[in-house]
């Protein structure tokens, strides 16, 4: 990276996200950020640190601990012409606001016969890996991807953390952004995008010919590491980052499977009824005659994520699991 001489700067996923919010607040006075501890505290994961000082308490609003109501208030404000960014601390807490997200945000446009679009962006942390145990560690983004009427994004790179927010705010409909907790400290060089970032397409993070590793969010670094290991053994894996979980980029999945004829789907959520299951189903629907091996899945163990480090690691998809699954499909 960077060898081509384009302009670049060293940053982190967290800072990239903060920069995206700052840019949005600067460029559009309808935008405001609201959520628990986004102001004085600086955000539970430090994303909004410093924004209160820059934009003041009207636009960086600390809310009471009332997920349902501050998400609902974001929906109401969006209906009235604002462009709210609502932060929920973790996906587990978002269940308290699920009523508002499903019954209002995702539904109002249709239920009103097209009269009421809801241009809200809801951000939240997802995923495990930090020993936060069973009420702060789950990956429920697949549940949200089940819902028609919303867009679900999972930025897995610094570039996407930096550049997905602006098109999300421009979308007239609700957009949910899932930030995997283990990515915040990801650091690297941020290059200006060579083309506008879109919210519709999956990305090939590494091209390959022998097998497709299909993943998103916090599992992307693990999939890339697995691809390195496989390459050392002579297996060229293609790594697909879904980026958008709804709508799914069917064409990209099908194109990759058509190239490689084998696929491993990596999803930190539980296997049963999961987004991984959805991807597998679509491969079966669209690419059945391309398959030269059963599709493999690497998901979390079907257990509430435990606290103890060894147990937590055993519960989550690991690079070695991905490599093993790839071997089952290829060997």
């Amino acid at each position: 990276m960077g060898a081509d001489g384009t302009e670049k700067s060293k940053t982190t996923y967290r800072e990239a996200m903060r920069e995206a919010i700052r840019e949005a607040l600067r460029s559009d006075d309808r935008v405001f950020l609201m959520g628990e501890d986004v102001g004085r505290y600086g955000g539970c994961f430090g994303v909004s640190l410093g924004l209160l000082e820059e934009f003041g308490p009207e636009r960086i609003r600390d809310t009471p601990l009332s997920e349902s109501t501050f998400v609902g208030a974001g929906i109401g404000a969006a209906l009235a012409g604002m462009r709210p960014i609502v932060e929920i601390m973790t996906v587990n807490f978002s269940l308290l606001a699920l009523d508002q997200i499903l019954n209002n945000a995702a539904t109002l446009l249709h239920m009103s016969g097209g009269q009421l679009p809801v241009p809200i962006v809801i951000r939240m942390t997802t995923g495990a890996g930090r020993q936060l145990a069973a009420q702060h560690s789950h990956s429920l983004e697949g549940w949200y991807a089940h819902i028609p009427g919303i867009r679900v994004l999972a930025p897995a790179t610094i570039e996407d953390a930096r550049h997905m927010l602006a098109p999300a705010l421009a979308d007239p409909d609700p957009v949910l952004i899932f930030e995997h907790g283990s990515l915040y400290n990801l650091s690297g060089e941020l290059r200006p995008p060579t083309r506008p970032v879109d919210l519709d397409h999956a990305a090939i993070r590494r091209p390959g010919t022998d097998i497709s590793l299909i993943t998103y969010g916090g599992s992307l670094p693990k999939a890339l590491a697995a691809a390195d290991e496989l390459a050392a053994e002579g297996v060229e894996a293609e790594v697909i980052d879904l980026r958008a979980l709804r709508p799914l980029d069917d064409a990209a999945i099908a194109a990759s499977v058509t190239r490689t004829h084998r696929a491993v789907v990596i999803d930190e959520a539980w296997r049963t009824g999961s987004l991984a299951a959805e991807v597998c189903a679509r491969i079966a629907e669209r690419s059945f005659y391309e398959l030269d091996a059963p599709v493999e899945r690497v998901c979390s163990a079907e257990v509430p994520i435990p606290y103890a480090r060894r147990l937590e690691e055993a519960a989550l998809p690991q690079t070695a699991d991905i490599v093993a699954a790839a071997h089952r499909a290829v060997d």
Binding site: F32, S68, A78, M82, G113
Partner: protein, 361 residues
């Protein structure tokens, strides 16, 4: 009706005193109470609004029985004074968020009977394009943000509409209707807290009809004085006779005026009663016939007519005129709904997202 006791919070103004004589915002929409000479006319207008809702819903019963209307249909009959009275205090700039028992709110807000009836029929010309039905009436042009069928689900939304107005310095009021059942939901308490905390221009209109579906108020609330409990959030709150349209109007004007002068959310507990079942039909096992009859003695339509009689106003002439006008209006609405086109099935996936006209993967 007992009045709420003042709550001991820093900005409690719970006693229902007339609103403080603060300087009126010049830009704020004004709705003055009717002057004396036009009081008779005003009462005639109120009577018309009440009867429009009553007759519309009576026709709905008939149409439902004939299987023209389907789904859940929740009738407002008996509670009409609340919708009509409160709407007197609102202007077209204000917003309304409603419940699933919202035919009355929609009609009082000025949505044409024709558009509502077409929606009941599920036709393309309905006010929600046939996608909502009885429980989900919408009209963005009238800032009517619809019937929400999730009890208390509309409250946070209303807080957000009010928040946007506050942030943009618009002197508008958002009125949220909800019932005594919603008062038990967390979303009510979260919203009351947030609205008071952020001083939002929100009118919380609690229609206390004594039953959350079939569960009586006393079986649902440890403390049944809802206004008093609302006042504990630090907002003016009081109870009103919801069977008296003029009393509702008076209280709403006072509350809305208070909100417009920047004193934050107000709460009205409108004590009312539905004469009919929770939904279209239910066996009414949870309440006695005698109780229903007792409340029917306080029928808001009859009460208003009695008052007009006492004042020597020409009730019978008005009634004949109004009944004929409304009958024609509703006949026309039914006829139009019968004839109206169905939304084509090709449009099934429209309005799922703003871009969607076809299948969405």
């Amino acid at each position: 009706m007992s009045l709420a006791r003042p709550a001991r919070t820093r900005k409690a103004t719970a006693a229902p005193k007339p609103a403080k004589k603060t300087a009126r915002n010049r830009q704020g929409p004004r709705t003055a109470p009717p002057a004396d000479r036009s009081a008779a006319q005003h009462r005639a207008n109120l009577l018309e609004s009440l009867l429009r809702i009553r007759r519309f819903e009576e026709r709905c019963v008939e149409l439902y029985s004939a299987a023209k209307i389907r789904g859940f249909v929740h009738l407002y009959i008996g509670e009409e004074a609340v919708a009509v009275g409160i709407n007197q205090a609102l202007t077209s700039e204000d917003a309304v968020v409603s419940t699933y028992r919202e035919h009355g709110h929609a009609l009082a807000r000025g949505i044409a009977a024709e558009a509502v009836m077409a929606e009941m029929y599920g036709k393309a010309t309905g006010c929600s394009g046939g996608r909502g039905g009885s429980m989900h009436l919408f009209d963005a042009s009238r800032r009517f943000y619809g019937g929400s069928a999730i009890v208390a689900g509309g409250l946070p939304l209303a807080a957000g509409l009010a928040l946007a107005d506050r942030m943009r310095g618009q002197n508008r009021v958002t009125c949220c209707f909800f019932g005594d059942g919603a008062f038990a939901e967390g979303e009510f308490h979260e919203t009351a807290n947030l609205a008071a905390l952020w001083n939002l221009p929100l009118l919380l209109a609690c229609e206390n009809n004594l039953y959350a579906m079939g569960t009586a108020l006393t079986r649902e609330h440890a403390q049944t004085d809802l206004a008093m409990r609302a006042a504990s959030y630090g907002m003016p709150a009081w109870a009103v006779d919801g069977m008296d349209v003029e009393a509702v109007e008076q209280a709403s004007r006072r509350a809305v005026e208070g909100i417009r002068t920047g004193t934050g959310p107000h709460f009205l507990e409108l004590r009312t009663y539905r004469f009919r079942a929770h939904s279209m039909y239910d066996p009414d096992r949870y309440r006695g016939k005698a109780e229903i009859e007792q409340w029917k003695d306080r029928d808001p339509v009859n009460r208003l007519m009695e008052r007009m009689r006492e004042n020597g106003e020409p009730v019978d002439e008005e009634l004949a005129r109004i009944e004929q006008k409304i009958t024609e209006e509703i006949d026309h609405a039914v006829e139009a709904a019968e004839k109206a086109p169905e939304e084509p099935v090709e449009n099934l996936l429209r309005h799922v997202t703003s871009a969607s006209t076809g299948p969405v993967s």
